[in-house]
């Protein structure tokens, strides 16, 4: 077949996409925390928890599988990202873009980045208003990208942003202390919720 015919072929096959293209895989031990066991393209998720409870690590590990499969991830907002931890979780830093800006700009930038990036993480320090969250959710749905809100330092959310398909609350972390060795292992107590589930799921995640 000549190369030019491929565009025609593309037009024919485009409406039908494979099931695997509508979802982005996550690491095995996180599957239980997500509706459908993976990140659904076009959906919105929330991760929140107090400082030190593991929310940032949770976000890194949610996107690490996607990055290793070639996705680009944008990190937007003011957050003290620790790239050492990201690299340790297998994130290829060449596929990360960091945009440092205040909340209002961050919301606008996220909506622009959703067009090209597979996953956009929006770090906020206060809850987002209904109108902005609604337009972000729509943008995510149209562009088939995933928007993850990260609320760090917040241990309870009055209401979830518009269109959130799932939320993950990192409640606490427990470090394994062995004599005078530096810390190395911990388990996270995580509570996950989704509109699709009858009740919340609590789980302990090791290795974050």
């Amino acid at each position: 077949m000549k190369v030019t015919n491929l565009t025609k072929l593309q037009a024919v096959v485009e409406p039908a996409s494979l099931l695997m293209d509508q979802r982005i895989d996550v690491l095995g031990h996180l599957k239980d925390l997500l509706p459908g066991g993976s990140l659904k393209r076009g959906s919105v998720g929330v991760v929140y928890g107090d400082f030190g409870s593991g929310a940032t690590s949770m976000v890194f590990s949610l996107v690490s599988q996607a990055i290793s499969e070639g996705s680009f991830v944008g990190l937007v907002g003011l957050h003290s990202w620790g790239f050492g931890a990201a690299a340790d979780m297998g994130i290829d830093l060449r596929r990360l873009l960091v945009v440092e800006c205040g909340s209002n700009k961050a919301i606008e930038v996220s909506s622009l980045l959703l067009d090209g990036f597979d996953i956009v993480v929006l770090a906020l320090d206060r809850s987002i208003d209904y109108k902005s969250s609604r337009s972000l959710a729509n943008r995510a749905r149209v562009s088939k990208s995933i928007l993850l809100y990260l609320y760090s330092g917040i241990s309870s959310l009055a209401h979830l942003p518009y269109g959130a398909d799932f939320s993950i609350w990192t409640k606490a972390s427990r470090w394994e202390l062995l004599g005078s060795a530096p810390i190395s292992n911990r388990s996270l107590v995580v509570q996950a919720d989704s509109a699709k589930w009858p009740s919340v799921r609590s789980k302990s995640v090791v290795g974050l």
């Binding site: 940032t56 890194f60 945009v99 440092e100 930038v109 980045l113 067009d115 972390s173 190395s184 911990r186």
Partner: protein, 560 residues
């Protein structure tokens, strides 16, 4: 390998049309000149944690191209490391290009530090090649960047014929000027400041080592079969070269004979590789123009991709309402993507509208933009998949970044890069995002990990790193502030900590590790730091790193 013939016709007979006499100006070590670093100072340019350029001073220390950045610390304390910054280099090169443009309306920019132009018209206008060379050298000598100090003059290898050197005139200057048939030979000549007689390209370059034609990996292959100099390629028949090395072989055959240039021009497909984008109403802002032409550029590149060709060299021209015009040729060693082209457009317009020396900016809005592809390759170097057959795979991403950049400005869009250091803050740095950071090939890192830095924080890495650090307090059970003694021990055992800016009131400490004392940069009076680091785990499971410096505790990182 750069240029390749269009359409893959490796077996057509070599075209021997005469090449245009070309003048090339090349600055040695542009990144250093642009930052006014003299050659005898030890400095290197780092890209992907490896040395890509170095000064004579650094060479004397035993540094060479390709060294790992982390091993440099052992060679000298005085070595200055510069992160590779293509945008900065290009922008600072603008003043040289502006001078070149005062001799010839169309200048080709090869890379930061190297540019050239066709001398046919200018030589006639300025009274011959010699007199043109004089004038160019005089004009360039006026630049402060050209007075980079004497660089030891290199001589072409023995046996090279058909040229004469200009070096006596350029003895104290940091640039070279070469004049020869075609840009390739002129570039080689410029490193020696030589003028190669018309028609003598073959005689001039045949004694050179083949390293000037191709990159390292291929040099190895060729030297294994006994080919070490350009001249030896001349002895190999063309079909053998093609049979053994494919397109690379065919290109080598051409270059070795000094044949170089616009092979595409000889074909009838030219009009398909050109696009004119009209701007109505006329536009002056470079940003608005790059937006306006974006869609057309995409279509144009898509059409090229469907033909299976990728541009390596493009000419961009503009014309204003008052018929002022500017055109410039841009070339690149990897295929130019639409995003790169747009950034060329922007740079060219900005250079034109904000001239550095005595030239006038355009007086009216721009009415059209011409984009003409001069050379192509059929090797994309970029991976295409089935779903994005027609577009550059990262283009969606690049476009989103460009839009975000227009919203927040250049300084806030960053990419993290690993670098050497002890503290979690030093181990990574955020570089300003620029196009070639994403375009860089994904090279496989060598499996051998870099050696650890003595004194670095062990084991798991924190996922939140504060820069700048946040003030905190550490007290004993009785409420006494904890300090670190000169011998590197805690003055009393800490029981509680608080971080006011995070809203943390006294939290109980379950375990504290350390302190690990550190004495950084002790040889440098201005930047020396003495600090002690501890790792704290609180009763409720929060782990963090704290640093004591100048009798104050700071929160450095949280294991979030």
């Amino acid at each position: 390998m750069r240029r390749r013939s269009f359409g893959g016709g490796t077996l057509f007979e070599l075209e021997t049309k005469p090449l245009a006499r070309t003048l090339v100006i090349s600055y040695r070590g542009w990144p250093f000149l642009a930052r006014s670093i003299p050659d005898d100072q030890a400095a290197v340019v780092i890209k992907n944690a490896r040395v890509v350029a170095l000064t004579g001073g650094a060479r004397r220390l035993g540094v060479s191209i390709g060294d790992r950045a982390i091993t440099l610390a052992s060679s000298s304390f005085e070595l200055a490391c510069i992160e590779d910054d293509f945008d900065f280099d290009m922008a600072s090169f603008e003043e040289v290009v502006a001078i070149a443009e005062s001799f010839c309306p169309e200048v080709e920019v090869f890379s930061p530090g190297v540019c050239g132009f066709n001398v046919k018209g200018p030589a006639r206008y300025f009274g011959g090649e010699e007199s043109l060379l004089d004038k160019v050298i005089d004009a360039l000598s006026g630049l402060s960047v050209s007075k980079g100090g004497a660089i030891s003059v290199v001589k072409p290898p023995n046996g090279a014929k058909g040229f004469h050197l200009l070096s006596d005139r350029l003895l104290d200057l940091s640039f070279g000027v070469g004049l020869a048939d075609g840009p390739f030979v002129a570039k080689v000549a410029s490193t020696f400041s030589a003028v190669v007689e018309a028609g003598f390209s073959k005689e001039f370059i045949s004694p050179f080592p083949i390293g000037i034609l191709i990159d390292e990996g291929e040099v190895d292959t060729l030297s294994k079969v006994g080919v070490n100099s350009v001249g030896q390629i001349l002895d190999i028949p063309r079909d053998l070269m093609v049979e053994r090395f494919g397109k690379v072989g065919s290109r080598l055959y051409e270059l070795a004979r000094g044949v170089d240039g616009d092979l595409i021009e000889a074909r009838e497909v030219k009009e398909r590789h050109q696009v004119r984008i009209d701007l109505d109403p006329p536009e002056t802002l470079s940003q608005a123009i790059s937006f306006a032409i974006r869609a057309k550029v995409d279509d144009f590149f898509t059409a090229l991709t469907l033909e299976g060709v990728y541009p390596l060299r493009v000419r961009i021209s503009f014309e204003t309402e008052t018929t002022e015009a500017i055109s410039r040729v841009w070339s690149s060693s990897v295929p130019i993507s639409p995003s790169f082209l747009i950034s060329y457009v922007r740079r060219q317009l900005e250079g034109w509208q904000n001239p550095t020396i005595g030239q006038d900016p355009p007086r009216s809005g721009i009415i059209y933009c011409d984009i003409e592809v001069l050379e192509v390759t059929s090797t994309p170097f970029v991976q295409l998949d089935l779903y994005q057959v027609a577009i550059h795979p990262q283009d969606r991403v690049l476009r989103a970044i460009e839009r975000a950049r227009d919203k927040v400005g250049d300084g806030s869009i960053k990419v993290p890069r690993k670098r050497a250091g002890r503290s979690p803050k030093d181990q990574f740095q955020l570089l300003n995002w620029q196009l070639d950071l994403f375009e860089e090939e994904l090279r496989v890192e060598s499996s051998k990990e870099a050696p650890p830095w003595p004194g670095q924080v062990p084991n798991v890495k924190p996922s939140m790193v504060f820069d700048p650090m946040v003030e905190m307090e550490l007290v004993s059970e009785g409420g006494v502030a904890v300090g670190v003694s000169p011998s590197g021990e805690l003055t009393c055992s800490p029981k509680f900590f608080s971080v006011p800016s995070l809203g943390w009131k006294m939290r109980e400490i379950e375990r504290i590790l350390g302190p690990w004392p550190m004495n950084e940069l002790w040889w440098d009076d201005a930047r020396r730091r003495r600090l002690a680091r501890v790792q704290i785990v609180s009763r409720d499971g929060v782990a963090l790193n704290a640093v004591m410096e100048a009798s104050k505790w700071h929160l450095e990182a949280i294991y979030d």
